[in-house]
């Protein structure tokens, strides 16, 4: 298939969108530090997120017809120069990141004010914007080493951000440290993989590399490169047995950071996985190795069942959500390992839908931290009555996690089950449904605690601040909107899946 590739040397704004996508948050970060005012820092963060969102939506509209935007940094043509390459898949993930960042921004105002000492605010926001930059860079770039660099930018920023939760609970420090160790090992594995690929192909450009790798699938260097990359990325995206860093990091990070990272960081790692598996190594390589059937599939099933089971017994709402995230990553990997276009569509759509669901739920958890002094389930007892709006949003989020019709979660599960059955993989459909039942149990526990435990007689309403409620409800309404209207999500993920398969 030949795809129209557009690039030129002119400096119209539309042509420069890919680089602006990175530059806007990247430049805003030092700006915040220079200005050094807390309120202005928040405004810059919010505006940078909003502008990023507009840019990413623009990019998505540009590539929505199946075209590809190729942007050459500094005018150096690939494979020598670094290329930014935007197609339906990256644009979709970019929109997700920018959207989440914009949604959580109003929430940050009070949440950060409550959890982080004042003097750290400007640095906090700077680090946050760097994290956003890193995540977007990973997604937009077409150069494998660049992926590593951006990945480390986002990771380093997120270690810092997570550790800042120490002002609420000192365990944030050790969880950040553990994440740092594991994350660095993962990143280093990833670099080894890239090095081996470079040895074989002599290039770092993804498309170029993909072309040169063709017919070399039996080379042991290529195969070990693949293994290193899968493990490295697997650590980042918390594939089931490599997930140990995630629950504590999510539980003890500042609420705002948890909400943002839960919705974006693992999703970006999944994006890397998709990119390497399908664009660089090609589906034929995957089929030859049968790695999906023998490695990813069993692990994803384990994640869906074991992580859900662990979630049931969590004492902390955030911890429960964290384990649920691991299980949901399992769904996405399951979609990938079905090895068909429909499976990929399901994975991509769940990536998005789970993102908006989890951001809503983690923001709710953060609201409880502020108003109820913590997110342990014991703190939540009876919160349904004292914080009716926040808790209603929690219910919407929980329903979406379960996959009740009318919510985003239902759509992705429907498509996932459909993909499994279409490809004759009945048992997988049963696993998905079984895991949904486990979700019923842990979500039921949360809802029950909110509405039917002890505090039943409390009637003094003590609602979260309005700015937080706005964020929470935008995310919750998004859960419902994307559950009822799927024109955008399905068509884009369909297109993205097609392009991953064809290229």
């Amino acid at each position: 298939m030949s795809l129209p590739i557009s690039h030129s040397d002119s400096f119209s704004l539309v042509e420069q969108l890919p680089i602006l996508q990175i530059l806007v948050p990247f430049v805003s970060a030092p700006l915040i530090v220079f200005i050094g005012n807390r309120t202005i820092a928040w405004w810059i963060t919010f505006l940078a997120s909003l502008i990023s969102l507009l840019i990413s939506i623009n990019l998505l509209l540009l590539v929505n017809d199946g075209s590809i935007i190729s942007y050459h940094i500094g005018g150096w043509a690939p494979p020598i120069g670094i290329e930014y390459r935007v197609d339906a898949l990256n644009a979709f993930v970019l929109v997700l990141i920018a959207l989440i960042s914009t949604i959580v921004a109003p929430y940050a105002y009070k949440s950060v004010g409550n959890e982080i000492p004042k003097e750290h605010h400007t640095l906090f926001y700077a680090a946050y914007l760097l994290c956003v930059t890193g995540l977007m860079g990973v997604v937009i770039t077409g150069d494998v080493f660049n992926v590593f660099v951006f990945l480390e930018i986002s990771s380093l920023a997120s270690y810092v951000l997570i550790s800042l939760g120490s002002h609420r609970d000192k365990r944030a420090l050790t969880s950040a440290f553990n994440y740092l160790i594991i994350g660095t090992i993962g990143a280093t594995f990833f670099v080894i993989g890239i090095g081996l690929l470079y040895m074989v192909t002599g290039t770092l450009n993804m498309i170029d590399m993909a072309g040169l790798l063709e017919g070399k699938s039996s080379s042991s260097t290529v195969r070990s490169a693949f293994a290193f990359i899968i493990v490295g990325v697997g650590l980042k995206l918390a594939i089931y047995p490599l997930h140990i860093w995630l629950p504590k990091a999510y539980t003890f990070a500042p609420s705002f950071i948890t909400a943002f990272l839960a919705a974006t960081a693992t999703k970006v790692a999944i994006y890397i996985l998709l990119r390497f598996m399908f664009t660089i190594f090609r589906p034929s390589f995957l089929e030859e190795l049968n790695v999906l059937n023998f490695v990813i599939l069993p692990l994803s099933i384990a994640a869906m069942i074991i992580a859900s089971l662990i979630a049931i017994f969590q004492k902390d709402f955030k911890g429960l959500l964290a384990y649920s995230s691991i299980a949901q990553v399992g769904y996405i990997l399951l979609g990938i390992s079905i090895m068909s276009e429909s499976g990929l569509t399901a994975a991509i759509i769940h990536l998005f839908n789970h993102g908006i669901t989890k951001v809503a739920l983690f923001m709710v958890a953060g609201a409880y931290v502020i108003k109820r002094g913590g997110s342990l389930l014991t703190n939540l007892q009876g919160a349904g009555f004292t914080m009716p709006w926040t808790s209603a949003a929690a219910v919407v989020g929980c329903l979406s996690l379960i996959g009740v019709p009318g919510t985003a979660g239902f759509i992705s599960k429907w498509i996932l089950v459909e993909a499994a059955i279409e490809n004759g993989k009945w048992p997988l459909a049963i696993v998905i449904i079984f895991s949904s039942l486990l979700a019923v149990v842990y979500c039921g526990r949360v809802i029950e605690t909110l509405y039917f435990k002890n505090g039943n007689d409390e009637t003094i309403v003590n609602e979260s601040p309005l700015t937080m409620l706005i964020s929470i409800w935008i995310a919750s309404l998004a859960c419902i909107y994307f559950g009822l209207s799927t024109d955008i999500t399905i068509s884009v993920s369909d297109l993205a899946a097609k392009m991953l398969y064809l290229k």
Binding site: Y159, R168, R171, L173, A176, L180, T184, T378
Partner: protein
Amino acid sequence: MINWEFIIGHLNYWFFIVLMMTGLYIVIAKGNLVKKVVGLNIFQTSVFMFYISIGKVIGGTAPIFPVDMKIDNNIVYSNPLPHVLILTAIVVGVATTSLALALIVRIREEYGTIEEDEIFIIEHELDSSNKTPNTYKENGHF
């Protein structure tokens, strides 16, 4: 029959593997957080050295073009790209190390120790105490 050619030919790999495993072992086995970071450094360094070694071309010279740009096709140059990449990776590694050390300082302040098993005991008590962690209270909103 030992294939000496294979062993000698892949010498850089052997060193790389030994160093890498040493680093990983330290990260996993040592309880002292600083030692963990040292292990992590060894681990990363092994990868850097591996990268640089694959850029080496036997008989190659430094990849610098003559001033008059008259390039002699007979001269073999080493590949500079891996070095450049590793320069970036080293920078990332330094940043990681410094951040890790900063975290260790903070952990020492909060826990009074940097031994993993002692931290584990403290955390286990915190986990099972079921106590609500303190919310940061100093002038709540801004």
